[in-house]
Symmetry: C2
């Protein structure tokens, strides 16, 4: 069992290890596991009383669970699939067969495929745009987008601007915007074109579906929820994880680091900080970090998503040949999907309140969010949707230890000005977390990749 600590009375005294890791999310625990396997002594300091970071699973009963955080696995995400297999966590295909509900200007329709009927050449333009973007993205050196020949030009304009200039159909523009921005959860501030291309280069995300000739296969989910991955890794790391330990200060020298959390001090040879850049920037470093690294942490803010779930006695939408998916141009919940458990019962719809709507509703309180969510699901799916058995939510912006979701995002100029500091070690300090990943940046897969990459850096330094 991990050392469970009350954050007001944390573990005291001095502890020693080879590598101290800040954060017990996927990145931190993957790093810890690799270092532990290599025979090094690790200690993972986690501010919360739980492990999992931005994966968070709530269990309703033995077979029914709610994933409040990261949950989907895309084709091509090999590392997280391998990890799940090692840990004995099974996957199941995402529920997505059936028609999509469209809600445009207050009018409801249903359709099969990418766009509602009458969308003209939107689908062809989306595929064409995705191909163009993928070609541009191929010019980016993996993990070093600032070195692309056109980096400065692409980083000084926005992705939306590129879409407006290159994609005639507004519907197609929205489709392509959604395919990438869904990773981030809404501004304010627009993604730079370079940042969009860097995401595509890192793993293609939704864009890959649009360019491949054959269907790449379904998304998958974890039976029992995504947080299990961290929980199972934590079980085997056992007392090497200290929860309730908020790291306030890190002293770092040529051969050692000291991490301070209240009356707890951890001394190590190296440290890996796995927090999102903005939260990593809130730790006090002695000596202070170089300006460029610090300025990066000032400029990769978190998106803002409130993930909501409504639980119903059954998947009533299936009787109407609906998939549970929604495309919508209005209201607080514009993205909806079927998030029912693998056995199909109960029926669960998940919705995302993003960006400006998240900002508005965060202040309105849970009751209002529930009412508006249910009202909108009724528009999409009829009267049965208006009578959920239960409502669940997690407001990631209010979560002190995430401060937003899904991840940090890059506005114009940030990649070319500060990108080189994102993952580069500073002496005995290493950086991980999905935001630092050259593979599937922003996704669970990126977190796994970044943790293993940081562990490899440390192992190489110790050789």
């Amino acid at each position: 069992m991990a050392q469970r600590l009350d954050s007001r009375s944390p573990l005291k005294g001095n502890h020693h290890c080879d590598v101290a890791i800040v954060g017990a999310g996927l990145a931190g625990l993957c790093a810890a596991r690799d270092l532990d396997t290599a025979g090094l002594q690790v200690l993972v300091l986690e501010a919360q009383e739980r492990v999992g970071g931005r994966t968070l699973t709530e269990h309703i009963d033995s077979s029914t669970f709610i994933d409040h955080g990261g949950q989907w696995v895309s084709p091509g995400q090999e590392r997280i699939v391998a990890l799940a297999e090692e840990l004995g966590v099974a996957l199941f295909p995402n529920w997505d067969a059936g028609l999509t509900v469209d809600w445009s200007g207050g009018v409801r329709s249903t359709y099969q495929g990418m766009f509602p009927p009458g969308s003209g050449h939107a689908e062809a333009q989306v595929r064409d745009g995705a191909r163009k973007l993928t070609q541009l993205a191929a010019e980016l050196p993996l993990g070093r987008p600032w070195e692309a020949p056109s980096a400065t030009e692409w980083d000084s304009r926005t992705y939306h601007h590129w879409l407006a200039e290159n994609i005639p159909s507004p519907l197609a523009q929205q489709g392509l915007a959604r395919a990438l921005e869904g990773v981030f959860g809404g501004g304010p501030g627009e993604l730079s074109l370079l940042a969009a291309l860097a995401i595509i280069r890192s793993g293609a995300h939704e864009i890959s579906r649009l360019v491949s000739a054959e269907n790449p296969g379904p998304e998958h989910r974890f039976i029992g929820g995504a947080q299990q991955l961290c929980e199972r890794m934590a079980q085997s790391l056992d007392e090497r994880i200290i929860t309730g330990a908020y790291v306030a200060e890190i002293e770092h020298g040529n051969n050692s680091v000291q991490l301070y959390s209240g009356d707890l001090t951890v001394s190590a040879r190296r440290a890996i900080v796995t927090l999102p850049p903005v939260l990593a920037g809130r730790i006090r470093y002695s000596p202070a970090l170089p300006a460029a690294r610090d300025h990066l942490t000032q400029r990769v803010p978190m998106g803002w998503v409130i993930k909501v779930h409504c639980v119903y006695p059954e998947r009533f939408w299936v009787a109407e040949q609906l998939s549970g998916k929604v495309t919508s141009d209005g209201g607080p919940v514009r993205v909806v999907a079927d998030n029912s458990p693998p056995n199909g019962s109960p029926g669960i719809l998940v919705g995302f309140i993003e960006g400006a709507e998240a900002r508005r509703l965060a202040a309105a309180g849970r009751e209002q969010r529930c009412a508006e969510t249910v009202a909108q699901l009724r528009h999409y799916f009829g009267t049965l949707a208006g009578r959920p058995d239960a409502y669940f939510e997690h407001a990631w912006g209010d979560d002190e230890f995430a401060r937003g979701a899904y991840g940090g995002y890059w506005t114009p100029g940030v990649w070319t000005s500060y990108g080189h500091t994102l993952a580069a070690p500073i002496g005995t300090l290493h950086w991980a977390g999905t935001e630092t990943s050259e593979a599937w940046n922003g996704k669970l897969e990126g977190a796994v990749h970044s943790g293993r990459r940081a562990a490899a850096e440390v192992l190489a330094a110790f050789r």
Copy 2:
């Protein structure tokens, strides 16, 4: 004498007061002074071993000083002039008579007035643009730019975009960009049009010179340097200032706050945090602040300026009828001015390395920065400029307790999404600092205004 503390062994124990203030810059000390005058017990906690914040004066000899930070007072900045008078700090007019040196495409010329000869209608367009901007700015409610009728539209486009659409001459565009962006010290990321208008509304800054029919009078400087204001206030506040006290955590409740700095705890009825938003966001708050306030602190990053000075035996440029001012389109130092002391000896030129050039040269080291600065001053002012007696600099991005200069800046969407949280108290927590000021935002005057405004809020709450 203020309690001088080594930051590794800070003052221990518990202290009580009415109002605890974080930061002993202009805002914090002005707040402390007003509250002290009103009979309240204050304690100011300052992370550094000095007071002054972003004012910092280095004394070369009894009459010669270098202002590394804020230093200029503009016509209309009444609060700081009154403060200086109360404190017995005298002002003198800025040295600026004579011709400006222009450096364009590697060609040097000199000129009188706003632009070099042959600039066509640039000056008329600058004045016309300044008038238009001032008219638009008048539609902003003071201190609440997000409530302007066109706020959303203006916040979703950039100031540069407005200039490109409204000002034909590229030279005039540059002039108007410079007049506002000089406040911030360079991106990356562009100022939104709404942010630009908010700056104009808050005090007009350079723009005011361009619209007024008569000359509003010269800029002024403080005899003996700008830091004196804080030093003199600190003298009278005496042991109510604790230096070397880095506030890591603030617990706040309905009727009290506790501030934690190492083994020091300060309990108060209310607290005023005067740090720039990004640094205020790095304090841990218990309970955690609402998401909107936290997200603001993720999105108002600091500019990056390295302020450099070269000291010469005399003001040799005066013999050539030069003012010491430069306009330049290339090299690391594009803004130069005469920063000699009031008696005119020695001769001192001040230069600003901003934005991308600051980022490049910060990593290059002091020797390289000195060499490039001197080489460029030689281009502007001839061989005498190549032989300074001394070189001084302050790299504000590397300053742990400022993390940039001149101030935080607002990229598109930030004002309308989060501006309402900038200065609004949260229970017993109040916010000050020039970034929070409705008057002369980003300037010394704004810091004074914000500190006095926060003190008034606290006094009103105690009544």
